[in-house]
């Protein structure tokens, strides 16, 4: 097998998405292995999954992260003893902070929210499920980022309940 054929073979394998390939013929021996693009991390204690986000085109993905950090300093810092309310996901899916790509997020840190107000979307099997807030109060922190995979019961928002 010459260089050209070897290159063609590798291209062929890549195109077909073969993860691993081994060949032994005569005095030729080759082994090709592709590692996963972004290996999934399993945090040992919390058993949370942090897999690569679903491959959906979200052009504004980068922006909300920086926007969140910009908003933080203006707010009252949460004290450790504070009893903040967690809004948790009732379903497995993918977190989206706004109704559609590019539009402003449903809620961000500092916003005042009411019971029943939509905070985010968790998409499951192509269905966009609106997640409603279950207390009235102030959004202290958004705990998930746009496009992040979410498991059942995962914390999405921390809310300081109104007195």
């Amino acid at each position: 097998m010459n260089q050209k054929e070897l290159k063609e073979l590798i291209e062929f394998l890549k195109e077909k998405g073969i993860a691993e390939f081994e060949l032994e013929r005569g005095d030729v021996k080759m082994k090709v292995k592709w590692t996963a693009d972004s290996p999934a991390l399993a945090l040992p204690d919390s058993r949370y999954v942090a897999v690569p986000p679903a491959p959906l085109p979200v052009p504004g993905a980068a922006a909300p992260v920086s926007a969140a950090t910009k908003e933080e300093p203006a707010r009252e810092p949460e004290t450790p003893s504070e009893n903040l309310h967690s809004v948790r996901s009732p379903i497995v899916g993918t977190f989206y902070e706004s109704p559609s790509p590019g539009s402003p997020p449903f809620a961000k840190a500092g916003d005042h929210v009411e019971v029943g107000q939509v905070l985010c979307i968790v998409e499951a099997m192509k269905l966009m499920n609106e997640i409603e807030c279950d207390v009235a109060g102030e959004v202290v922190r958004k705990l998930a980022s746009n496009g992040q995979p979410i498991e059942y019961g995962q914390e999405l928002f921390l809310i300081r309940p109104a007195k």
């Binding site: 999954v49 499951a124 059942y152």
Partner: protein
């Protein structure tokens, strides 16, 4: 998932040397079978994704899977049986395939269809085949068509005692009269004597009318003292089907198997081959893929009658694995990835030795009340020819929401005698504290003369309990 392709001929490569495998599999189950599938994935170099309910957060499947996703609260309907949650987890984890295990969604044709629609390979038969085998009458008809012996049943309702008598004459006594509209023993009569038939027919009819508002009756051939014999099959996606022999599963309590073994003393090599050939032909034509179990009743004359087919891996699959040295779960995965049976099996099926399995439940050994809770000590037996399939561990908790199976103890010996003594020894050395288990019950069965003689049928357990009750009374009295 990659399709099977031929290389350009100029490369001089054999297409057969091409071997494809999944990158990632989601295990849509829990407990010991989830762990079993994860074991197979690890050995095949496939990443595994465990899904779990909040009650299974500390389970071994979650611990040993490469990734884990919580999909719901403890209740089955909201977690393991929640198809959108399972599929959503499969999508966010970007898996290639789902292994459904046994029970739960494993024989849910809709679930298999949803997997296909979402581009995820369901490790099992096609939805339409699952459906076919799930409908009892259709399955019987399909099997009958291909020469599989079935238990004769009437074609529809038997409208009169005269019709009943005629049908009984054709098929031969004994027969059982059953209510079309119900079950649970109501509207059922066994007829052993033709003179009693008319009377029993009328009794069944009035009982059925009273219980279900519908007096329609049908009839089936009745097998006295049947044995439950099932055959394990493997089928690839290229039309090749092989039988891996039988399991004897007559030791049952309320239709739940307690002990299984292989081979069955009543199945001769000729029978094994004959049934194997018929099943291979039939299931190849039906287009069956994957692992499956075909269940039969055997009568006192060693005749086999098809009852139903289970289109999944079964709880007692280790029994077959121990006597054939075939890893059935790995085989399922390889088959689903497109591998041909000769490359899965590497040679003919050989049966060696004798294997027995005891299903150990977290239940009181006499009252059978469930015993969930924390296990304070757990030391399974070891040694030659002993295998434990379990997700239980010391300091672990058995949740109350799911079935009570906590461990499968399987032994293999060179013959039944060695397997029996090995099982007795292994049961004796199995330590579980903190919860009740059925280990004491299994120990008593392993000491029972009828069981040791191997002459059992599905009525064994009732007789066993009666013997034990009588013995206890005579000791007390």
């Amino acid at each position: 998932m990659v399709g099977f392709e031929r290389f350009p001929e100029s490369w001089g490569l054999e297409a057969e040397s091409f071997f494809i495998m999944f990158n990632k599999i989601l295990v849509a189950n829990r407990g010991e079978i989830a762990l079993r599938v994860i074991c197979a994935c690890k050995e095949l170099g496939i990443r595994s994704v465990a899904i779990y309910s909040e009650a299974d957060r500390n389970s071994l499947a979650v611990r040993f899977a490469d990734e884990a996703i919580c999909i719901g609260p403890p209740q089955l309907a909201q977690s393991y049986l929640n198809i959108p949650a399972v599929i959503s987890a499969a999508e966010i984890a970007n898996v290639d395939a789902i292994h459904p295990g046994y029970g739960l969604l494993s024989e849910n044709a809709n679930f298999a269809e949803v997997c296909g629609a979402c581009g995820i390979k369901f490790i099992g038969p096609l939805p339409e085949v699952i459906r076919l085998m799930g409908e009892k009458e259709k399955a019987r008809a399909a099997m009958k068509q291909h020469g599989v012996p079935i238990l004769s049943g009437s074609d529809g309702v038997i409208a009169s005692a005269e019709e009943a008598r005629e049908w009984a004459r054709q098929v031969g006594l004994p027969v059982i009269i059953k209510a079309s509209a119900g079950g649970g023993g109501r509207g059922m009569r066994i007829v052993r004597d033709e003179n009693e038939l008319a009377g029993l027919y009328r009794q069944a009819q009035s009982e059925a009318s009273a219980a279900f508002g519908n007096g329609d009756l049908y009839m089936e051939k009745y097998v006295e003292r049947p044995r439950h014999i099932e055959f394990q099959v493997l089928a690839d996606e290229h039309g090749n089907v092989v039988s891996l022999g039988e399991r004897e599963c007559s030791i049952q309590r309320r239709h739940q198997k307690l002990i299984e073994e292989s081979p069955s003393a009543e199945v001769t090599p000729e029978m094994r081959k004959e049934i194997g050939d018929i099943l291979s032909r039939t299931l190849s034509t039906v287009g069956y893929h994957g692992a499956g179990t075909v269940e039969f009743l055997m009568d006192q004359e060693r005749r086999l009658y098809f009852i139903e087919m289970n289109t999944r891996i079964q709880v007692e699959h280790p029994v077959t694995e121990m006597v054939t040295d075939v890893d059935l779960v790995k085989s399922q995965i390889m088959i689903a990835a497109g591998t041909k049976l000769p490359d899965v099996l590497h040679g003919p099926i050989l049966h060696r030795g004798h294997a027995i399995e005891c299903r150990i439940n977290a239940e009181h050994p006499e009252k059978f009340t469930p015993s969930p809770g924390k296990i304070t000590a757990f030391h399974p037996p070891g040694g030659t020819g002993v295998r434990i399939d379990t997700a239980a561990y010391a300091e672990g908790t058995i949740p109350p929401y799911y079935d009570s199976l906590i461990a499968k103890l399987i032994v293999r010996g060179k013959d039944r005698g060695e397997a029996l003594s090995r099982m007795s020894r292994a049961l004796e050395m199995f330590m579980v504290e903190g919860i009740h288990t059925t280990i004491p019950l299994h120990r008593r069965i392993l000491a029972d003369p009828e069981f040791l003689a191997g002459k059992m049928d599905t009525g064994f357990i009732e007789r066993f309990f009666a013997r034990n009750a009588a013995a206890a009374e005579s000791l007390a009295g």
